[in-house]
Symmetry: C2
């Protein structure tokens, strides 16, 4: 690829003059200007952003660290982050950890080598001190997205509150027996049960099971066989909810009559499912916006009021799987 020095040689001026012409800050002889511009255009010149960054202007690169972009929710998030970054004049380097914690730490080093100006990360876990330490040690402005990482700028929805929303929605739709399908010690699950308890649902009517639990189908069959009961199921994300709907179908359990299902993330396909899936929607665009805005503030060393910790609010999108459409 052609460089400024070569253009200088070809047009008979000095390299700094070429720089002046192409950055357009200072004034140059209009005649020289034209000659240089034409030569640059003819040879499809593009300035070397890397060489620029050596002078200390920053790379205008943001590292986007994800668990797995093939999840529709993260794909949308990535698109929003890229769009926001773009508007702010940044491009993104994308890395997937594949939920491997060692690889997740490596990713930090990779983007550090490229001297990214900032990092937007969806951590695997919000309580991994190893990762949090590594991020702090990295000396690069970073913001956690979708999860609240203590001590780190975080943009996320209040998961406990969201769990409460799911509980209230299911109660309102007339369900009286409850199941949370997700990992143990999930904040969403905790908020779900807290709200149920507060609403007077007895503990015996509340249960939790992991999505990959071999006994999941057995559990579904048993609970939904209980005559006169309607089971409200809250899944930790829409992909798990999708699988759940298939299990229920295989078990001939009518949705939403005998069992209601509410997911989390509201991925784009959810509204097109059959039955369409009730889900909890996170404000993706707003999250991306806030994350990038905070990164840019840090990058430009604008005074920031402490660690960003302003939980956003999720909302229920009612559809057929809970009889809400």
């Amino acid at each position: 690829m052609i460089t400024m020095a070569e253009i200088a040689r070809m047009t008979g001026v000095s390299q700094p003059t070429v720089s002046r012409v192409l950055s357009g800050n200072t004034s140059v002889n209009p005649e020289v200007r034209e000659r240089v511009l034409e030569c640059a255009r003819a040879h499809n010149f593009q300035p070397n952003a890397l060489a620029k960054s050596l002078q200390g202007g920053g790379t205008h690169l943001l590292g986007v660290l994800l668990t797995d972009i093939s999840n529709g929710f993260f794909a949308e998030l990535a698109r929003e982050l890229e769009a926001c970054a773009n508007r702010a004049g940044y491009s993104i380097i994308l890395l997937n950890s594949g939920r491997d914690e060692a690889r997740e730490r490596d990713c930090i080093d990779v983007v550090r080598r490229y001297r990214v100006d900032g990092i937007a990360a969806v951590p695997i876990r919000s309580d991994s001190s190893l990762w949090t330490e590594e991020i702090h040690r990295s000396d690069v402005p970073a913001v956690a997205v979708t999860l609240h990482v203590p001590g780190l700028d975080s943009v996320y929805v209040d998961h406990a509150e969201a769990g409460g929303l799911a509980a209230r929605h299911l109660l309102k739709r007339g369900y009286d027996d409850f199941l949370f399908v997700g990992p143990p010690k999930d904040e969403k699950g905790a908020g779900f049960f807290l709200e149920l308890t507060a609403s007077g649902v007895p503990a015996a009517r509340c249960a939790a099971v992991r999505p990959d639990d071999a006994g999941l189908c057995e559990e579904l069959r048993r609970r939904c066989a209980a005559e006169g009961r309607r089971t409200g199921i809250f899944a930790t994300n829409d992909l798990d909810a999708l699988v759940l709907l298939n299990h229920l179908r295989a078990l001939s359990i009518d949705v939403p009559r005998r069992a209601g299902v509410i997911g989390f993330d509201d991925i784009p396909v959810s509204r097109y499912l059959n039955p369409s899936l009730t889900s909890i929607s996170q404000p993706l665009g707003e999250m991306a916006e806030q994350a990038v805005a905070r990164l840019v503030s840090r990058i430009e060393r604008r005074p920031c009021s402490g660690v960003l910790d302003a939980p956003l609010h999720a909302s229920v999108v009612g559809r057929e799987s809970t009889g809400a459409l």
Copy 2:
């Protein structure tokens, strides 16, 4: 971030010695070695990949240019590309054009500024001479993925053949009236109709309509109302097929009895739909593998036998929407 020069100063050696220690090629005094390594570790040193690239070793960055990563198919593709790139020692810069052709051309310049060693692109159209010219002018090894771009290394499945597969599948499942839902002049559509005609289906039993056509539902109603006929519908991608299934449901047209639907891309959710969606699957992993392999070959100036143009083969994944499960 700390540099080799600073480590050199702190440990009382010269900068090249630090370089030698950290790259580990040449032998250095073990004592010095330890001192330098410890200092580097203590300050969390990472070499500046950009400064390295200035010497001409390349950036080890690949540009991945997509239309829209929020489409599950492209998200999966991006993940595979990232994984392959990683294995080959490359990281990726990801850009979405959002199907805007001007933006699509800008994307090329962006990655050029970052001196990516190669470009893997999913073009908006395979016949945009403006874009193809720009890619060639870019002077960066590039490969088109999923689409065949004449004159450019391309990794793709034979769309006409895939259309034929869809036709044969629908014929085999007993459908006798056919509709293609996709853009006009689509290769898949052409292959679809070619196979139908070859199989003796009269032209009157073949029709095409755009996915966003306002008269789509009317067309569905009319065709499926024809007594004694079963309509086989081929959608240009799974997302459109999803919408189609919803229209059919709204129209109370039984799938797969009165109408059969086959999509394209086999996105991950297709198998979980109700009815689960028959689709044409592209060998994603293989495509990513071949694309990156070809890029790396070009980057390393290995002799390549002309322009890569080896169409891969798609396959039908039969599911409930065509009564194949």
